[in-house]
Structure formats: structure tokens, C-alpha cells
């Protein structure tokens, strides 16, 4: 009855222990391209003392060169079920967060924008930006360039856009590139008015490099906006959320996508990402002007659902 689906080799899963954090340790990423004296203010970070540089891949430590291909494998395998899995894992709430994210940016309020949506493979944010500009401001000149390192995710995005009115228009373009090193020929400096990255930056090997590239491609006056999973503030809510993350999400991956390892990576990578104030500081270090180092009005970030996700913004002056 179930002979058509066969595995060629037995599938060994991650042999490490499934760990659950008591609390987050602030992780300071090594600024590899910066001056050779790294400000090592916390206990862990990119390990420079070994022969090769290492970084984190969820709770594993991996050589830096490897992280990119490991992340690529994860997203190759989740691409076709990405949207279904997002809905299942967040019980549909990710849609609300993305709507909120785009609504706060108000694309099209002051004229058409050239936007770039990085790590935006399946086109969730790009579609929302274009729809918002069109519906609220009758703007059909705003354009979005969707950039992703993973071709499979871009293919899914392209397929989705074929069902919309933006297909084959200059309003949408799909480009494959590494957010840490976008080629200058394709992405000249000082081009974009709005740079968005939603639920993608934690998968990048070097967050400071991504921020530097963002600074480069934005015009003076352009906005940087990042929507990402972050640290929950309330301790009780945080422990419930942790339980849910580590118990339910990998199981949903097993059930719906037949892939536990990728979803285990996903929940672990959320825990390894710097908390809100740290990340805001990194944005400032890249040259952006942000609000104060606090949450809310006038602050550098806004928490959604008490910190499950948060929106960081900055402006290039």
C-alpha cells in the first residue's frame, strides 16, 4: 500500500540533543569586515580562535562557509510547502504581522517608491506592498525587486505572482542574489527608497554584512525595515511560547512536510538571533539613524505580540 514512496537511504536525523533554552544568551556577531579588534562583550559569538571561523546554525556550531549551503538546503526543502507551513505554525498569525508591517511603512503615501524586498522568495511582502500602494493611493508606479539567495523560493514567488495582476509588469522583478554581497552591477548604490527584509535576516551568516549592503543600496532618505522573530518580554508567555516552539513546530514539520530537521533548525535559529536592543544597536552601527533604544513610539523597534516578532526600522541620512 505504501510502496511507491521509498527512501534510498535511511534518514539519520540530527544526532545532537534537543535542547531547550532557559534564557537567551546575548549573542554578539563578529564584525568580520570591521577593524581587527572585535568587541567581544558576551560569552559566545563567531569563534575566531579556531583555524576556521565558525558560526551558529540553530544550536549547532558549523564552519562559516557551510552555513550558507545548509540554510539553502533547508529552504530548498521547505519551499514548496512554505506558505502552508507558515500558516500551520503560526496559526495564520503571520499574515497579521505582515499586514501590520506593510501598513506601518505606508508605501505609496508620498509618491511611487522603488522597493527592494530581500529574502522575500515567495513574495509575501512584495505583494502586500504593491497591493497597499494600489488600493490606498492608486499608485501603479511603485516597484518591488524581490531578492533571494534560493532559486526554489523565487520560483514559488514567481508562480504566485503569475496569479496576480503584477505579472509581466515593470512593478515586479525577481533576482537571485546573496543579501550579504549583492553585485554592484545589478544593484547599484543609492537606488532604493525602501529596503524590507521579513523573517529572513536570522538565516544570514553575517548580519552586519547584510546591514551594510542595505545601507549601500538605499538612497539617502531611504528606509530600512526588518520584520523578524525576536525575544518575548513576558517570562510566562515566553515559556509557553518556547514549549510550543520546541514541541509543536518540529512535529508539524514532520506531519505536514515530512521534514523535522528543517523546522527544528527554524525554531533554534530564532533563539540564536540577538534580542531587540542588540539588533537595534547593530542597525545603528551600520550607519542608519534609528529611534531611541527602546520599544514603541520614538523607539528603534516595535514588538508584535509582546516580542514574538518585532519590526526594526532605520533611515539612511
Amino acid at each position: 500500500m505504501h510502496r511507491t514512496l521509498r527512501l534510498a537511504n535511511p534518514r539519520p536525523l540530527l544526532s545532537s540533543a534537543r535542547a531547550q533554552p532557559r534564557h537567551l544568551v546575548a549573542v554578539r556577531h563578529n564584525h568580520q569586515n570591521a577593524s581587527p579588534a572585535p568587541a567581544a562583550s558576551s560569552s559566545s559569538g563567531a569563534n575566531v580562535s579556531n583555524d576556521q571561523r565558525t558560526t551558529h546554525f540553530g544550536f549547532q556550531t558549523v564552519p562559516e562557509e557551510a552555513k550558507e549551503s545548509l540554510v539553502r538546503n533547508v529552504f530548498d526543502s521547505v519551499a514548496s510547502s512554505y506558505d502552508v507551513m507558515n500558516d500551520a505554525m503560526s496559526m495564520g498569525v503571520h499574515r497579521l504581522w505582515k499586514d501590520d508591517f506593510v501598513a506601518r511603512l505606508k508605501p505609496g503615501a508620498r509618491g511611487p517608491l522603488r522597493c527592494i524586498d530581500v529574502a522575500g522568495g515567495t513574495g509575501d511582502i512584495a505583494l502586500r506592498i504593491l497591493d497597499f500602494a494600489r488600493e490606498k493611493y492608486a499608485d501603479r508606479e511603485t516597484s518591488v525587486d524581490v531578492v533571494d539567495i534560493n532559486g526554489e523560493m523565487l520560483k514559488e514567488g514567481f508562480k504566485r505572482f503569475k496569479k496576480t495582476m503584477y505579472h509581466n509588469t515593470p512593478q515586479i522583478a525577481f533576482k537571485e542574489a546573496n543579501a550579504q554581497a549583492m553585485p554592484e552591477a545589478e544593484f547599484p548604490s543609492n537606488t532604493y527608497d525602501l529596503y524590507t527584509i521579513a523573517f529572513g535576516i536570522r538565516n544570514c551568516t553575517s548580519v552586519p554584512d547584510v546591514l551594510k549592503e542595505a545601507y549601500r543600496v538605499l538612497k539617502p532618505g531611504g528606509t530600512f525595515a526588518c520584520l523578524e522573530f525576536s525575544r518575548v518580554n513576558n517570562p510566562l508567555f515566553r515559556s509557553i511560547y518556547d514549549q510550543y516552539s520546541f514541541s509543536v513546530i518540529p512535529l508539524l514539520g514532520t506531519l505536514l512536510a515530512g521534514d523535522r530537521a528543517s523546522y527544528q533548525y527554524l525554531v533554534e535559529s530564532i533563539r540564536r538571533f540577538p534580542p531587540q536592543p542588540e539588533f537595534a544597536k547593530m542597525i545603528q552601527d551600520a550607519g542608519f539613524v534609528t529611534g531611541g533604544l527602546h520599544e514603541g513610539k520614538g523607539g528603534a523597534w516595535i514588538d508584535l505580540w509582546d516580542g514574538i516578532a518585532s519590526i526594526h526600522t532605520g533611515v539612511k541620512l
Binding site: 500500500m1 534510498a8 535511511p10 540530527l14 545532537s16 532557559r22 538546503n73 509543536v248 506531519l255 512536510a257
Partner: protein
């Protein structure tokens, strides 16, 4: 390509690579504060995924639902088997310990896949032997003994092996009962396995697997095969104790007598006629002999 199949490709590479790293990393990995847990969740064997009671229940319900909705999800059927076989596996293990053959299996823990079983050697065995019958059966049904989904959710390593052994021996049960791999035959074998071994998953498959069948097929199943399967299964020796890999040369009729198995009353429908399968086997045997002659 099905969703599950496509999604299983990449994480295998990832998981294999990470397993290599983990082995290299465990030497000097510092104990990080955020890796402590109150409950021990270290995996007990490769592929083991420890679950707490909530996850156990969630996955049981979820995999039952997914297996019903999409029976092609072999991993879901396997997961359900792992999760529901709790009380039965110790009994099977004890049955194995009671027989000398079973004790040998538990000691040596043989695995069955295309690497451990030499198909070509089996094809050269004389007709009437179990090895030859097995290869003929594979040929007739058009299947190979590729690896089944490994066991993940059984906590004790020995019981996990017993479960794995059952899964890998499933094809041998087909062969010795003389049943092909169509749905009716599979269900008949499931009835046999439930009567013989008592594994709950086989009982569930037997109880619910016939529902999607047409009326005619179901009637045929219950008229021709189920009474035989249940009688044969309950009176035969517990097949989990049989060391199949040491019995390739044994005459198959003698083996059936020894184990207490007899043929079904009605000959089932085979996808390939026996004559064609025999021809293919002979061709392969000749090819093997030529190869041996050339190399020597």
C-alpha cells in the same frame, strides 16, 4: 514529485552533514547554559527522537490523520507504528529471547537492505530454496528490498531494533505466504501479522484498510483470505524469531512445514506470471555466471 518525497531530499544532506559535525564537535563543545533541560532528551540510538507525553499524543493523532488522508506517506504509517506499538514490543522481544534463533538475532542485529543481502547470490540458488523463492517473488512483484523508514519514536534501543526487524522482514512474510503486493494481498498479510505478532499498527491497518476497497474486492478479501490468514497466523510460530538470512538454502516447503504455515486456499493475482519471472531470474543467473567466468 510528491510533496513528501521532494521535502525529504535536502534535509538528508543537511542532517548527514550535521551528524558529521556533531561527531567532530562533541569533543570540545563547552556546556552552554541554554542547553540544560530537566528531562533527559539525549537520543538513545541514531535516528531516535525522544518525545514527551504531549508530543507523543499529538504525533499519534496527527500521523493517524495524515496516514488516512494520504496512505502514500510511508513515514506517517511508520511513525504511527512506532508510537502505538509500546506494550507489544517487550512481549515480542521476550518471545525472541525464548528461542535460540531469536536470541541470535538480538545479539547480531542483522539488517536487511540491498547492501546486506546479495541478490545475485540468491538468484543462483537452486529452485525450491527459500532464497530462490524470495528473489523470484521480488521479480514477480517488481519491488526491491530498499530500506524502510527507520524507527524514530521507540525509546529503548533494543525494542527499536525489534520494530525495525519487523519492518524489514515484512517482505519475507509476503514471500513465505505466497502473497503479492496488491491491496487485497497486503491486507491479508496484515491480518496474518496481527494474528501472529499482535502489533497494533497491523491491527489498525486490518481494521480500517479495507474501507476504501470496492465491494467486490472486500468480499473476496474476507471470503478467501482473512479466515486463512487469521488461522494460519495464530497457529504458526512467531515469525519475528526466524533468522531468515541463515535459511536461504533451506527448502521452502520444509520451512513452511516447520513454521506451521500453509498456502492460501485461493491463488492470488500476480502482476507478472511465474514463467516470466523465472525467465528473468535465469537470465540474471547466467549473466552472473558469465561475469564470474570473465573475472576469474
Amino acid at each position: 514529485m510528491s510533496l513528501a518525497a521532494a521535502s525529504m531530499r535536502a534535509p538528508r544532506r543537511t542532517a548527514r552533514y550535521l551528524a558529521t559535525l556533531a561527531r567532530a564537535n562533541t569533543a570540545g563543545r563547552p556546556h552552554a547554559r541554554w542547553q540544560t533541560r530537566a528531562v533527559n532528551t539525549q537520543p538513545a540510538y541514531e535516528g531516535h527522537i525522544p518525545l514527551n507525553w504531549f508530543e507523543h499524543g499529538f504525533l499519534t493523532l496527527g500521523s493517524a490523520f495524515m496516514a488516512l488522508v494520504n496512505p502514500r506517506r510511508a513515514d506517517m504509517v511508520a511513525a504511527l507504528g512506532d508510537l502505538t506499538s509500546g506494550p507489544v514490543l517487550p512481549r515480542l522481544r521476550d518471545r525472541m529471547l525464548e528461542s535460540p534463533e531469536g536470541r541470535q538475532i538480538l545479539k547480531e542485529r542483522p539488517r536487511i537492505n540491498t547492501h546486506t543481502v546479495d541478490m545475485n547470490k540468491l538468484a543462483l540458488l537452486p529452485e525450491g530454496t527459500f532464497g530462490n523463492a524470495y528473489v523470484t517473488w521480488l521479480e514477480r512483484c517488481g519491488v526491491t528490498p530498499d530500506t524502510r523508514e527507520p524507527v524514530h519514536y521507540v525509546d529503548d534501543p533494543e525494542l527499536a531494533y525489534v520494530m525495525q526487524r519487523y519492518r524489514e522482514c515484512h517482505d519475507f512474510y509476503h514471500c513465505i505466504l505466497g502473497m503479492p503486493v496488491n491491496v487485497v494481498a497486503e491486507l491479508a498479510v496484515k491480518f496474518f501479522e496481527f494474528a501472529n505478532l499482535g502489533i497494533p499498527m497491523t491491527g489498525m491497518a486490518a481494521a480500517f484498510g479495507h474501507l476504501p476497497l470496492t465491494h467486490a474486492k472486500r468480499e473476496k478479501l474476507f471470503r478467501d483470505y482473512v479466515p486463512w490468514a487469521v488461522k494460519c497466523g495464530s497457529s504458526a510460530q512467531s515469525l519475528i524469531t526466524v533468522y531468515w538470512e541463515k535459511r536461504w538454502e533451506q527448502n521452502i516447503d520444509e520451512m513452511k512445514r516447520e513454521l506451521g504455515i500453509w498456502s492460501p486456499p485461493v491463488e492470488p493475482r500476480w502482476p507478472k506470471p511465474l514463467s516470466e519471472a523465472k525467465l528473468a531470474a535465469e537470465k540474471r543467473a547466467k549473466m552472473m555466471e558469465n561475469q564470474q567466468q570473465v573475472s576469474s
